[in-house]
């Protein structure tokens, strides 16, 4: 037994002259050490990538960001690239409108659906829910866009706009100022349907962390299911649910193609849900890559991307931290 000193791997010697033909312990340890070093460098990649993306956007948009006071760029309403006027307010307002409308439509159904899945549904439904949600989350954005063009835009134009004209007269945010269905409402509906599978999956997973005993205790003293949800389940996971919804909103903020196809893309500050809008991602997608002959245009578009990135990073980091704490790991 005296040769069992030291820690770590030893060669597999089982007796005199009966050596294993594999690599020696030294070689195995060296391989392990080398792998650790190489891999630790590869693992820097994600962190490095975030920094690189942010830095690249800052550097490339610097000519526009530094040229004028920031407030003038962010809140300026005049967008005339040929004259060097880059006011981002129409696009920021458009992004905000579409996202708020989309999330406004999505939140309640998503919360109720996830509550049903975690609190009411039987096992068979739950087992089915996950693959179905995965499947729906896999549908490409451009397909949502096609659906938006074929179904949502006509629906807004032929059904919702006439209804609003009839019943919601005099309320500014429901004013119908243009004849087509392309606009914020159509974009919002498409966004709501797009982010729904994602938000439901996150919320469901969060609700799943509530210990079953808590529910049993509440039900045992005579509370109804809904009383249990309101009094026990939701208070336990409220921060997580908010974080999940914020994460969904940050997805909605950056959605490009599907929204671009239905939102109308008119440069103005919208005032009604039936107005067309021009969100930031759509602006970038439509103009970046060409029109490079106009000075500063490319820097201006990149500062648009920078604004988008910064907002999304803030949303993402905060909500991911909350979720990591709650779930004991990161989400998404």
């Amino acid at each position: 037994m005296k040769d069992q000193r030291g820690t770590g791997p030893r060669p597999l010697v089982t007796g005199e002259g009966r050596h294993n033909n594999g690599p020696s312990a030294v070689a195995r340890l060296r391989a392990d050490r080398n792998a650790r070093r190489t891999l630790s460098i590869v693992t820097l990649l994600p962190v490095f990538l975030i920094a690189a993306i942010t830095l690249a956007l800052i550097i490339r948009s610097w000519p526009v960001v530094s040229g004028k006071p920031l407030a003038q760029t962010v809140f300026g309403a005049v967008w005339k690239p040929e004259q060097g006027l880059f006011g981002f307010w129409p696009f920021i307002a458009g992004t905000a409108w579409v996202t708020v409308v989309g999330m406004g439509l999505a939140v309640a159904p998503c919360v109720f659906t996830s509550l049903y899945l975690s609190e009411y549904a039987n096992v068979a439904t739950r087992v089915l829910a996950k693959p179905v949600l995965d499947l729906l989350a896999a549908i490409p954005p451009v397909v949502y866009g096609v659906w938006g063009l074929l179904a949502v835009v006509p629906f807004v134009e032929d059904v919702l706009a006439p209804l609003a004209k009839r019943w919601l007269v005099g309320i500014p945010i429901f004013a119908v100022n243009q004849p087509t269905g392309f606009g914020i409402l159509a974009g919002g509906i498409v966004l709501a349907v797009m982010v729904a599978p994602f938000i439901i999956a996150v919320l469901y997973e969060i609700l799943d962390t509530v210990p079953e005993e808590l529910r049993h205790a509440s039900l045992a003293v005579g509370a109804t299911r809904w009383q249990t949800i309101r009094g026990v389940v939701i208070p336990k996971v409220l921060p997580g649910m908010v974080a999940g919804i914020v994460l969904g909103a940050s997805r909605a903020l950056g959605e490009t193609i599907a929204v671009l196809m239905v939102v109308g893309n008119v440069v103005h500050v919208p005032t009604s849900v039936f107005d067309a809008a021009y969100p930031l991602p759509a602006l970038i997608a439509n103009n970046y890559g060409d029109m490079m002959s106009i000075p500063l245009y490319d820097a201006a578009l990149l500062s648009g991307a920078l604004v988008l990135l910064v907002v999304i990073l803030i949303f993402n980091i905060l909500s991911t931290l909350v979720l990591q704490r709650l779930l004991g790991r990161g989400w998404t």
Partner: protein, 287 residues
């Protein structure tokens, strides 16, 4: 036996339950409607020509041809991107689990992966384009592959990470107790055990890559030919859908619907297939 007294709370219960059913109906209904719309509008425009031929001259004015260039381009782009993402992603996932575990640095890396996942694809596209300008690369298959790899990396690593974490701890501990190094645990035990997870992750990344338009818009370009070189631009299905729908000609728009159907079918087959394959393979892992 006492009868239950009908109270307001029971009314609330019924009300809430009604709202839940309504919500589920709404969510499920609109998603079913999407698939229905794409299938119903796509099938009439579908033809053998669509999937077997690249566009002919005047295609975007309604002349003959198909979108084979985009189908092949998308398969190239997504395969290349997925392969590249796997080459970097698998080591990261293994390192996260075997060496880092729950250490602060491990949590930091996971946070950064989650954040990367949240960055919209248009930002990846813009970043890719500035990168291309910096190294003098033009819009090409290679540039598209690189950007898609960046986009898919966080998705794949996190998916693999999830699977590795569900692996029984005893397995790893048993191997370490027998004198394995951590590298051997990673290569001989974790990798085998997570094979179904790797395949799920690969197909998840592939599905995301093949469906993404905003990231390849500036980086991969578009062409009517079937790409033969990494350094030439390539068409892709999402962009084919997008460009055809933007056309004023109804025939071309109809082909856009058919292209959307092709894309949807590819993505759904991948999604269902990955579930099936990983289900088959997980029989051979130790639970």
């Amino acid at each position: 036996m006492t009868t239950r007294r009908w109270e307001r709370r029971h009314l609330a219960e019924a009300l809430v339950k009604g709202m839940m059913y309504f919500s589920i109906g709404l969510v499920a209904g609109s998603l079913a409607l999407i698939l229905w719309t794409v299938v119903i509008r796509g099938i009439p425009a579908m033809s053998w020509e669509m999937v077997s031929m690249p566009p002919e001259g005047g295609y975007f004015m309604g002349k003959g041809g198909g979108v084979l260039n985009a189908i092949i381009g998308s398969l190239y782009l997504a395969s290349g991107g997925t392969l590249l993402a796997l080459i970097f992603g698998l080591p990261i996932a293994l390192y996260l689990e075997t060496y880092l575990g729950e250490s602060p640095w491990g949590r930091y890396v996971r946070l950064s992966l989650d954040v990367l996942w949240g960055i919209p694809s248009i930002v990846y596209g813009v970043f890719g384009f500035t990168l291309m300008l910096a190294i003098g690369l033009r819009a090409s298959l290679l540039a598209g592959i690189i950007v898609l790899a960046l986009l898919e990396l966080p998705i794949m690593v996190r998916a693999m990470d999830e699977v590795i974490r569900r692996m029984p701890v005893d397995l790893e501990q048993a191997a370490l107790a027998l004198g394995s190094t951590k590298l051997e645990v990673a290569l001989r035990i974790v990798t085998r055990q997570m094979l179904p997870g790797i395949i799920t992750a690969v197909l998840l990344g592939f599905g995301r890559g093949i469906g993404d338009a905003a990231s390849v818009l500036f980086t991969a370009g578009y062409t009517d030919r079937i790409t033969t070189s990494l350094l030439r631009p390539t068409a892709s299905l999402p962009l084919a859908v997008f460009f055809q729908l933007a056309s004023p000609f109804p025939e071309v728009q109809k082909r856009g619907y058919a292209s959307a159907l092709i894309l949807t079918v590819i993505v759904l087959v991948i999604s269902l297939g990955s579930r099936w394959i990983s289900g088959r393979l997980s029989r051979y892992t130790i639970k």
